[in-house]
């Protein structure tokens, strides 16, 4: 056995194996692509067997055999072209021309049984041209895709080029009989490469699939970390679409994101946004059933939308839900004009990609939530900082104005016009000071930070608050417990005490005492502020703790303010799980009583209703 014979046997064995595989596939999954693959290898098998049989039984150059060979060789490139068309629609004119060419050339074989001559050359040229055309078609397919699909298409393209070369070599052997032996050896070697290419392309062994798929999967994982950082879910979806399209070599891919409010899937990577309901189209069905669906003919499987599928030219649709841990994000749809792209491993890949998309979207969501929380905390901090700067900057010039106005007022005769002017500057400065503090209070209350309870002695907090008021708090008497520990928000309590004491001082005569009392009652700390001042009218009691409310008898100029003090007091009390009450009699004075939940372990179950607010007497 010569080396040439050996090569010949090896390639024949591979051809026959391919024929068997193609037959099994055609039987298992009938369809145009499997039929064409089967037909392709069947023709080769027939040619090989016929050649061997002719050699063995000695009827070489039998007319019938020649006709069979002729038809077979003519059929091969045509079938190859059909295979290209299976993957991607080819121009109708090309297909018709190739079909007619096949019939005409085959007919020539019957008329002129001696094929080698000018007609032989024409046949060889025609077959080689179709082989190269097919090769270009498969190469184009390869360039559109990545991973397994790309490699397979490249292998088929290489096989098709080699087929053309083998055909040209066969022609050359006739033209150059002297070099026939050498050319035969070369075509055997090329023939083996051809067979190997087709083997890899049409019947890719699992180890190759895995190896070729790995970079795609690796890239998917590597991209995930980058994807979750994208600002919006839509941009992220667009990247998933692009990856799904190129990894599968399909015509396109789309991600529909679930809009829970509208109960619709939103596709907006298209020129126009498209919204579909669950159950509509193949995509909506996959989402509704939460399972992957593959349709080789969408217009048949979703007849209610047949028109749209037909006009888009997309026959094959694979749709997979994007879901993780019960959280439904949407659906991934991959579509193509022809179904053969969707081999089992491509379908598995689509499933994998939709799972990964769900994880990426979930991570993205979590990151965004975390960022939102951080941003809010940062906003609150910035606002607090800004407020304290504003407060500081406004108070500083007010200090000078107030002080100088007082000095001027003292220096001038109170009855002179300049003295009155100085007095006016002072009272207006005092008013401005009060307004500024009130505005700051509003802004602070609007963006109120969460209550921060820490262990405090309430009596010490009250003392601190009084100290902070300066000498104006001189006539305040503190009575009750010497110490009362509990968990309070210190600054808020001081704000409450200052507001209540300020009111008491403001609405009573300088000669009368203001009494502040601290006591414990069940789980509550009870703080009361009592004055002997003008009192509050019954009609005012109900609205006393509302924002911007000011009493009827406080409209004179000395008592100007925004009416926020008691509103803030009520807020502070209710934040501390307590309430504020008032008893008052016009002309005799008022007593404000605040109940604060101490959060103390020793305390018993609270008996008071924390939601209760004010009670008038």
């Amino acid at each position: 056995m010569t080396a040439q014979d050996f090569l010949s046997y090896v390639s024949q064995a591979i051809y026959l194996a391919l024929f068997v595989v193609a037959t099994v596939r055609f039987v298992r999954r009938p369809g145009w692509v499997s039929f064409d693959t089967f037909a392709f290898f069947a023709v080769i098998a027939v040619l090989l067997l016929a050649g061997d049989a002719a050699r063995i039984f000695g009827f070489v150059n039998h007319p019938a055999l020649n006709v069979l060979t002729w038809v077979g060789v003519t059929a091969l490139p045509y079938i190859l072209l059909r295979l290209v068309d299976d993957f991607r629609p080819q121009p109708r004119a090309v297909m018709v021309a190739a079909g007619l060419g096949f019939v005409v050339v085959a007919a020539v074989g019957f008329v002129a049984p001696q094929p080698f001559g000018v007609t032989g050359m024409v046949l060889v040229a025609y077959a080689a041209a179709l082989g190269i055309y097919a090769s270009v078609g498969f190469l184009r397919e390869a360039r559109r895709s990545t991973g397994v699909t790309r490699r397979r298409m490249q292998a088929v393209a290489l096989g098709s080029v080699l087929l053309a070369v083998v055909l040209l070599l066969a022609g050359a052997r006739v033209v150059l009989p002297a070099a026939s032996e050498a050319l035969a050896l070369v075509s055997q070697i090329i023939g083996l490469a051809l067979v190997t290419s087709y083997y890899v392309g049409f019947v890719t062994p699992p180890f190759m699939r895995r190896a070729w798929q790995e970079p795609t999967l690796r890239a998917m994982l590597a991209e995930a970390a980058e994807l979750v950082q994208l600002p919006d879910a839509r941009g992220l979806a667009a990247r998933i679409e692009e990856r799904a399209r190129s990894a599968t070599g399909a015509d396109g891919a789309a991600v529909g994101l679930w809009d829970a409010e509208a109960q619709e899937l939103v596709f907006d990577s298209h020129p126009v946004e498209r919204r579909i309901k669950p159950g509509e189209f193949i995509a909506g069905r996959a989402f509704e059933r939460q399972q992957q669906i593959f349709s080789t003919r969408a217009e048949r499987d979703a007849p209610e939308h047949a028109d749209e599928y037909r006009s888009s030219g997309m026959q094959a649709i694979a749709a997979a839900p994007i879901t993780t841990a019960g959280r439904r994000f949407g659906v991934l749809v991959v579509y193509a004009a022809r179904p053969p792209l969707f081999t089992d491993d491509i379908l598995a890949l689509i499933g994998l990609m939709s799972e990964q998309a769900a994880l990426v979207l979930r991570s993205h969501e979590l990151l965004r939530e975390a960022a939102h929380v951080r941003a809010q905390a940062e906003m609150t901090r910035l606002k607090d900082d800004f407020l304290s700067v504003v407060a500081h900057d406004v108070r500083t010039p007010l200090t000078t104005i107030l002080l100088n106005a007082e000095l001027l007022e003292r220096a001038l005769d109170a009855n002179s016009s300049n003295g009155r002017r100085a007095a006016s500057v002072r009272t207006q400065a005092v008013r401005l000071k009060q307004l500024v503090e009130d505005y700051l209070d509003i802004v602070r209350t609007e963006g109120r930070r969460a209550l921060r309870r820490e262990e405090h002695d309430l009596v010490a907090l009250v003392q601190d608050a009084l100290t902070g008021m300066g000498t104006s708090a001189g006539r305040v008497k503190l009575t009750g417990e010497p110490e009362l520990r509990g968990y309070f928000d210190g600054p808020r309590i001081e704000q409450l005490v200052q507001n209540l004491v300020n009111n008491a001082l403001k609405y009573s005569n300088p000669g009368t005492p203001v009494e502040v009392d601290v006591s414990a009652q069940d789980g509550y700390a009870v703080l009361s502020v009592r004055d002997r001042g003008i009192g509050i009218a019954k009609s005012d009691l109900g609205l006393l703790f509302e924002r911007f409310h000011r009493g009827q008898n406080t409209s004179d100029r000395t008592h100007r303010g925004l009416g926020l003090g008691l509103y803030i007091c009520r807020q502070v009390a209710s934040e501390h799980g307590g309430r504020i009450e008032v008893t008052s009699r016009v002309g005799e004075g008022s007593t404000f009583t605040v109940y604060l939940d101490r959060w103390s372990l020793e305390s018993e179950e609270p008996e008071l209703e924390p939601s209760a607010e004010e009670a008038a007497s």
Binding site: I401, L407, A429, G468
Partner: protein, 119 residues
């Protein structure tokens, strides 16, 4: 705390406040000197042994904390009253061991009460 025999030292980076406070205190017969930041104040404290320091906290060059720290380091005993427009006046006063607070803006009467020990 012991008091020096010197004047009340008003420390503030705002000249308008320094002048207004000086006028107000001199009007009731209190001797006053002024300093425009902590470093300036430190030099004057060493020289004059003031009766009291009215101290602004946020100042350039050396702020209120820097001043208080330097005073402590030198083992000097000094009456300090914090005079600031910031909301944290009392906490800051505690931090530096001041004997009192005059939160800005203050009325003349509050200022007078604060310097009572030197009057």
């Amino acid at each position: 705390m012991t008091e020096g025999a010197g004047p009340v030292l008003v420390v503030d980076d705002d000249p308008a406040i320094r002048e207004a406070v000086r006028d107000a205190l001199e009007a009731i017969g209190v001797r006053v000197d002024t300093a425009e930041d902590g470093a300036d104040a430190l030099a004057k404290v060493i020289q004059e042994e003031p009766c009291m320091v009215l101290l602004d906290m946020r100042m350039p060059v050396m702020d209120g904390w820097g001043f208080a720290h330097a005073v402590q380091e030198r083992g000097m005993e000094l009456r300090v009253v914090v005079m600031t427009a910031a909301a944290d006046a009392r906490r800051w006063a505690r931090e530096i061991g001041a004997i009192g607070v005059v939160p800005k803006p203050f009325a003349l009467s509050e200022l007078v009460a604060a310097v009572a020990p030197c009057n």
